[in-house]
């Protein structure tokens, strides 16, 4: 097996699995789930094989997929350090979540559809990771969008899931429009969409870097990674099954936006990078605020994901893509852990998702609770856990590059600890606050084992020294770069102090506020306007609804009127009507009256004669 063959197995195995499930296992949910999990295991094994055979070398291959004249669309792999790191993470976390799904979805009626969807998703996600050109990335980009749509809408008998899946798909479409235009623009500009070739061109003449291309391609990232202003779909996407939230809406797909940015770092001029840094920071803080207003355990985590994606975008914008990738990887570990923990809780509480109806789960579900707590600590960036290293890297980068961003990001870290503390104290401590929570039970092995493995990774995932040689090349390089930056030592101290203070204060404050087994959010009593403000997510959805309903509707009405009146009325009906009118008139002549015909014939003859002899004309 060469590395290329292993990569082909990685890419095509889930497609085959999805096909088999779709065509032959529609009625056999159990069989379908086993096929899908086995495929996930095979993907992981093939990934390891590819890593071993590649031996740290970049593997590339490509073949022509479409040819129009002298325009060729290639399909190909670019398996470099970044792709290897991402692929390993996706394959491993994906495998764990597949195993978790075995337990979580065991009661589900449409298991085959769910696991088929997971396989399709794996195929599309791996395609993005391995793709070596923009067009191929776009194809798989749309495919993950489709899988996301399909899996969010898995509980298709509920209105909420239907609306959420449509929302996710349509909002992403807006970003993808920019992405597509960016691809066309890039092809026109560089004459190629191949990543390595573009990198070569840009390296040779840096004046070719175009802000327009970078911004258009970043639109794709804004949609997929749910950055402002296209962030509204991600919280709603929690209507899907929890493993989907963990896999797609925390660990892989939403991170694919950041991954894509890292792949095309060389296309970004400094001012666009700054914009992305500001945008990411704003989202990090905004989502942190929103998370306070949520009572649904998954929605809190969704806002947390938004916030962490903001951190990644900030790291990228500050010029450290490696640090962004680092945070992406560690975030995938602990956020997948948190989501799966939430899934385990929801499973144990008979599909209760309101944290104020839980409580006392620490005793009833000890393993879930402890692993969840590890996830919380990792997310808060407690010293020594995985989140600490990556978040510290981001904070240091901000501190060295841009003080206001540093302040905001540190505030974001404080908010993170606050809402995660609120979630944990309310849901796991105190007394059971509802019937379903008092009958909670620990989840089965298939769900607990992935939790434990992910907890270990959440603790140790950030120790880059222990990573295999082939992985994390860019991460190490960028961290080194950071370590040798001007003023690193002092800043490192600052970040240690501020960062640790942030999570400590956040956790403690939330404990004092919520730790006594709160039955409802006290903030509602203390400051109702603030709470309402947070609960309604700062009214973004309302603003969008207003915009769509009022402004866009007016525009659409106008265009509709123009369409009906001008296009339909004048152009289409008009031309047809003219011909019809002539037909109406001439129909009156053709009634079978031979004499009439002869009259007209003669009249025409006389006319022609008159013209010929020059009486007329």
């Amino acid at each position: 097996m060469t590395a290329t063959q292993s990569l082909l197995v990685v890419l095509l195995a889930p497609l085959a699995s999805a096909a088999v499930i779709a065509f032959f296992c529609r009625r056999f949910g159990k069989l379908a789930s086993y096929i899908s999990v086995a495929t996930a295991a095979l993907i992981f094994a093939a990934t390891i094989a590819a890593l071993r055979t590649a031996g740290g070398e970049a593997v590339t291959m490509s073949w022509n997929w479409l040819s129009f004249g002298d325009f060729n669309v290639a399909m190909g792999f670019l398996f470099d350090g970044v792709a290897a790191t991402m692929l390993t993470m996706v394959a491993f976390v994906g495998f764990l979540i597949h195993v978790f799904s075995l337990g979580y979805m065991s009661e589900d009626k449409a298991r085959a559809r769910f696991f088929g969807g997971l396989s399709i998703f794996m195929f599309s996600m791996l395609g993005i990771v391995l793709a070596d050109n923009l067009i191929m990335i776009f194809v798989f980009w749309e495919l993950v969008g489709f899988s996301s749509y399909m899996l969010i809408g898995h509980y298709l008998e509920t209105e909420e899931a239907k609306a959420a899946s449509k929302k996710a798909f349509i909002v992403n479409r807006i970003g993808d429009l920019g992405f597509l235009v960016g691809i066309v623009y890039a092809y026109w500009h560089f004459g190629t969409t191949n990543l390595s070739e573009m990198q070569g061109i840009v390296a040779a003449n840096s004046e070719l870097i175009s802000a327009g291309i970078a911004m258009l391609l970043a639109c794709g990232f804004i949609g997929k990674s749910a950055q402002f202003p296209l962030h509204v779909w991600l919280p709603d996407a929690m209507a899907g099954p929890t493993p989907v939230s963990a896999l797609i809406h925390a660990a892989t797909m939403v991170a694919a936006g950041v991954y894509f940015l890292i792949r095309i770092t060389f296309l970004f001029p400094v001012d666009v990078l700054n914009m992305i840094a500001v945008l990411g920071t704003a989202v990090a803080v905004y989502a942190g605020f929103c998370a306070y207003g949520q009572n649904d355990i998954k929605k809190i985590l969704a806002y947390s994901t938004l916030s962490q994606l903001g951190y990644m975008a900030a790291a990228f914008g500050l010029g450290y893509p490696g640090v962004a990738l680092f945070h992406l990887i560690t975030h995938a570990f602990f956020k997948a852990l948190l989501f799966l923990g939430a899934g385990s809780v929801i499973h144990g509480c008979h599909h209760e998702q309101d944290i104020f109806k839980m409580g006392g789960l620490l005793k009833k579900m000890p393993i879930t609770a402890i692993t969840f707590f590890i996830g919380v600590l990792a997310l808060c960036g407690v010293y020594g856990l995985s989140g600490f290293y990556s978040k510290d890297g981001i904070l240091i980068a901000a501190g060295l590059g841009n003080t206001p961003l540093f302040v905001l990001l540190t505030a974001g870290a404080f908010l993170t600890a606050g809402y995660m503390g609120r979630l944990f104290w309310v849901a796991f401590l105190g007394e059971a606050k509802s019937e379903s929570a008092s009958h909670a039970h620990e989840s089965p092995l298939t769900m607990v084992v992935p939790l434990i493995i992910l907890a270990v990774l959440s603790v140790a995932g950030g120790w880059t020294g222990f990573w295999p040689e082939q992985l994390g090349e860019l991460i190490r390089a960028d961290l080194d770069h950071l370590h040798h930056a001007e003023g690193y030592k002092a800043m490192h101290k600052n970040v240690l102090i501020f960062g640790s203070a942030a999570w400590l204060v956040g956790l403690l404050a939330s404990f004092f506020f919520y730790g006594k087994g709160a039955r409802e959010d006290k903030l509602d009593k203390v400051a109702p306007p603030v709470y309402g403000f947070l609960k309604e997510r700062l009214w973004f959805d309302e603003i969008y609804n207003f915009y769509v309903a009022k402004i866009q509707q007016r525009l659409a009405d106008l265009l509709g009127f123009l369409d009906v009146f001008l296009i339909k009325g004048v152009v289409v009906r008009g031309s047809a009507g003219l011909v019809g009118l002539v037909g109406m008139c001439s129909r009156a002549l053709h009634v079978g009256n031979i004499h009439g015909y002869v009259y007209w014939f003669l009249a025409g003859l006389i006319l022609l004669w008159a013209v010929a002899v020059g009486l007329i004309g």
Partner: protein, 101 residues
């Protein structure tokens, strides 16, 4: 007193006008047909007269062609009229207006 060209053209015009009125005013297909032939022969007459007057053979040639074509046309046209009559039991054009129904 010799008969001049004008007399022939006058006769031809009269014949043609008579034929044309026949075509326009009569309802019987066979009569319309005969009127058509009358118009053709009026033209033939004119052509022969011109030919004689000019001392060339062109007009005569034309007449032969016209007679030939008219004969062929009569063969076809009469066959159609016979077929029509068999089908509709009439040769009156005002009753043969299937389009108006």
């Amino acid at each position: 007193m010799t008969v001049g060209l004008n007399a022939f053209i006058l006769i031809a015009s009269l014949l043609f006008a008579i034929g044309m009125l026949g075509v326009l005013l009569r309802k019987n297909t066979l009569v319309i047909y005969m009127s058509l032939e009358l118009m053709l022969n009026a033209v033939n007459l004119a052509l022969v007269a011109f030919s004689r007057y000019n001392g060339t053979m062109d007009g005569n040639l034309f007449v032969f062609f016209i007679i030939t074509v008219a004969a062929a046309e009569v063969a076809v046209g009469l066959a159609i009229i016979v077929a029509l009559f068999r089908r509709r039991q009439t040769v009156m054009v005002d009753q043969l207006n299937a389009l108006s129904r």
